[in-house]
Amino acid sequence: MSEVAVEEKQEVKAPSEPLFSPKNKRLITDPLNENNPITIQVLGICSALAITVQVKQAVFMSLSVLFVMIAGNWIISTIRNLIPSRIRIIVQLVVVATLVTLVDLTLKAYVPDVSEKLSVFVGLIITYCIIMGRFEAFAMGNKQWPSILDALGNALGYAWILIAVAVVREVFGSGAIWGWKFIPESWMMSNGGFYMNNNLMILPPMALITVGVIIWIQRSRNTNLIEA
């Protein structure tokens, strides 16, 4: 008798949505373009600009954010019913700070050169509005699996802008990608050639202008996004 009851209970649960239902898919695809954390929601800009001189740094930064967001969103959505709402910000900060400490120590141990270049910006992941924003807006009110997908989508939306800016800056600024110089030395002006790297691209202001241009392109392709 009891077995039947268990089976019935499972059948009631069975029509729950599949892992990649259209709704769940939108959680990933939305932040890539129409609801991009950087260009539309304007969150998490600080790092997008500061560490995009080289593609390598940008990739490691994106991986760190990806890890912190997925783990953090999962933890928060797991314990969301236990967190008293008055101290939720502090609980969220502690979760992020712990995860970021883990990432920082891991980077220091395995890729010390990247960790040195990222310097304080890994620590600053703690104060990313993008991460706190996802915790507040999504993980506090949703189950674990959608939260993980949401984190994945937002982290990827963040990552592609970061890597796009880094590619532009590294190609024009140092004539290289991932440290590999594809412009032959003999072309360089210093060796009597015609080519010269645009040093301005390496300096901080060009990151802002590159992101500005990406926003321009994105909004002229999708006119719904234009601000009044």
Partner: protein, 204 residues
Amino acid sequence: MEAVNIFVKGIFVENMIFAYFLGMCSYLAVSKTVKTAVGLGAAVIFVLGITVPINYLLENYVLKEGALTWLGAEYASIDLSFLSFILFIAVIASMVQLVEMIVERFSPALYGALGIFLPLIAVNCSILGGALFMQERQYATIGDATAFGLGSGVGWFLAIVAIAAIREKIQYSNIPAPLKGLGITFIITGLMGMAFMAFMGIEL
């Protein structure tokens, strides 16, 4: 004299916005009118001026390797620096809370004007960035650290008020529609950053 140098450098040369892009989110979100920009800028100066020295003491008397020697020789080998992120963010969050309570108690008008911006400062990366730069650069005295905090705050204030003034005027100009709002703000900030690069290398 060193402190003056650090203060001026924090405002112009190592400007939080133009050189490191710290606190960009609130910089972009709150710079639509000069009035709100001034309020947030003042709050940032205040909080940076308080939290950087406190975190300096924490770093030098609790966290750094050998910082605990004042407790006794057997504590000299303890290195708690892996805790620095958590403790810094705790100090910042509690200081912001404290500042909020004090302002509410003594100046309700200012409290009303700042509104949501005060609590938001807790997650403004320029504040934590100030603490982390202080840790990385290892300032010699607490006076230097305070000068750095205040200088960075004034630099941030300058940046947000300037962009707010430009954005108020730019509403009347004819910009391509997709660039309106966010896009043009990014590009103007980039141009301002280029202007501030002229200060590079200044030593007092």
